[in-house]
Symmetry: C2
Subunit: 377 residues, 2 copies
């Protein structure tokens, strides 16, 4: 597996949490890790150098969105996704599976693939496993994701069963095409995606089917789609014991500090979510004294720093009062700075979790962090 490796350095005494290093052709990263989302080739409102300063290592982009605009051919012509995103570190592209099915009213699915309407120009677009592999080859991320069927309702057993079957069938086609396209020899690793909704047996069956393919990493998909925290946690618990211990495990689209602890304790290594960036643009700050809505009038004259325990370098010199003014006035700088703070907060949290796994006190960190940051300041 040229250029890719995953090493587990240690585990926790009282949970399945583990600390590791995931190596890609564009560098290595310590896990557990959070990956910021740059859907259309940019983490919204963040310059790449500030993203690095906020602690990001591996970042995401989205196959579907970049296919629609500007198109993989343009990205390829401009030097591939790393140059396109101006990011030298590892990049992962999501396959668009989730996006296609979350727009189900404008998509039709068959066993061969999906046809949907472009949100950019209304044109009909056809995605098949092979097409999605080819698009991701052209985009050129380090890690590409299988094209899966993410069922809209994770509680509908018949739907979830059908989505499982399709996901597994499509994965075989993805693997074949990815190998034809050069596989890891070309510097691209394919991750398979486990489905199974809220059903333990279907989750387990999906893990087994997906792990028949010897892949660089495996993802748990179809979570964080409205099933609730308990159900999500159960889905993770059903999947992780069956996933190979020597491969990174990626929980897609998750989430919040509590979600991270739940999943890391079950042996998850990688996360992505729009939480820090979307909340940041909406003036919602994650801090060690709880979530803060900076538009709230109570912060208008507050001369303190946003979070004395988590001093984002980008926020140096900005008081809560100034941030509040910027957010209340809908100034771009408000969303930019709160986004940078949130990303820093998330990456710092991951660093603390890695340290706690090493020191064997993850449970204590969980208690401390959740009591702090789930309050409302």
């Amino acid at each position: 597996m040229d250029g890719f490796s995953f090493e587990v350095h240690g585990t926790c005494p009282d949970s399945d949490a583990r600390r590791g290093t995931f190596t890609t052709p564009h560098g290595e990263m310590s896990t557990p890790a959070f990956m910021p989302v740059g859907t259309r080739g940019t983490v919204k409102g963040v310059q790449p150098r500030d993203l690095a300063q906020a602690g990001a290592r591996m970042i995401l982009a989205n196959t579907l969105h970049l296919h629609l605009r500007p198109g993989e051919e343009i990205v390829r012509r401009l030097g591939g996704l790393h140059r396109f995103m101006n990011w030298d570190g590892p990049i992962l592209t999501d396959s668009g599976g989730y996006q296609v099915f979350s727009m189900a009213d404008i998509s039709t699915i068959d066993d061969d693939g999906v046809t949907f309407k472009s949100i950019v120009d209304g044109d009909a677009v056809r995605f098949t496993p092979e097409r999605v592999m080819d698009i991701q080859r052209d985009l050129g991320a380090d890690v590409i994701m299988a094209f899966d069927h993410c069922p809209k309702d994770p509680h509908d057993r018949a739907l979830v069963q059908a989505a499982n079957d399709r996901t597994h069938h499509w994965l075989a086609r993805c693997v074949t095409r990815w190998r034809e396209n050069g596989g890891t020899d070309r510097g691209q690793a394919l991750f398979g995606i486990v489905q199974g909704g809220v059903f333990d047996d279907l989750r387990k069956a999906s893990v087994e089917a997906v792990c028949e393919h010897d892949l660089v990493g495996y993802a748990i998909g179809g979570v964080s789609v409205g099933e609730g925290r308990e159900a999500m946690s159960d889905a993770v618990a059903a999947a992780t014991p069956l996933l190979p211990a020597d491969r990174p495990r990626y929980l897609m689209g998750v989430g919040t500090p509590r979600d991270f602890f739940d999943a890391v304790e079950r042996g998850v290594d990688l996360f992505d979510c729009v939480t820090p960036t979307r909340h940041g643009r909406n003036a919602q700050a994650f801090t060690s004294r709880g979530r803060i809505n900076l538009r709230n009038g109570r912060w208008k004259g507050c001369d303190e720093v946003l979070d004395p325990n988590c001093m984002s370098p980008a926020l140096e010199g900005f008081s809560i009062g100034v941030l509040s003014h910027l957010c209340r006035a809908n100034e771009m700088l408000g969303g930019m700075l709160v986004t940078l703070h949130n990303l820093y907060f998330f990456h710092q949290l991951m660093e603390r979790m890695r340290g706690a796994i090493q020191d064997g006190n993850l449970a204590a960190l969980r208690t401390k962090v959740l009591s702090e940051c789930e309050g409302r300041a």
Copy 2:
């Protein structure tokens, strides 16, 4: 004049252009200089450290807008405007005179002051020369501007005459209040503003009236209000020969590279305008090969840098094609980066103008720059 000085280092052989240093309590700056506009306490979409990197020294904020939100009391409580804007360099606050009169349909003027409706909450607000001096004292900029009457139509002689009279009367009240508030002893310089519309005699009369007050600097106002480039140039030509040579001259709300040459050749030292920032947010880039609309489809796959002759550090690693994608997708990063480029372009142009004044070849620079940057790439 504690903390303030202006030194002229040299003039051009074939024009009235001069090179100088304007010193304020928050540092000195070389002139001619361009001042970016941070109306509501932030240059839109720009972090202060990037603003410095783009070459900014003195920046603007707006008295009216900051009075309405968050209010000068909040700014004062948060440490004054320098801390509020997170900017250690010199700051100038515009008085709001222009803004009040550009909203003339919702303002009523009398000899004592102006009453207008807040654009934030609809409340009635009263501005008098004394009030505007007090607000600017509380905001705490290095340079504050007199409260003037900027006539809506610079071609209406009766209106311009009345505005002149009011501006001069109000200036006397501004000076009195500014002195009572501590004057330059408190670290604040007051600049007077010359009006006079498009009428040579009224411009000259206004300069004479304004210069009866011994002030740190003088501004030419009531320009760039739709009178056209020739008329604006004439207004500057009428004013500058009568302005004291040993004080900085500030042409308000101007403008474009051609405007800068026109005015610098007549001895203007300071400029401000929203051009680079507003155009930047609208995907319009100033470059040495002309103005570029990055939303234009022709740039989609272009792998060149935006301007090989003006490499903004913030744009390192970004091709025109990527900038075009960001702008076409309405991603915040597009506006952020083009804004930073435009600011860098403007500040670089000022630096080149200062060099050309020193070398005695400003006319040659004018020809070169205007032939380049007024084209359309």
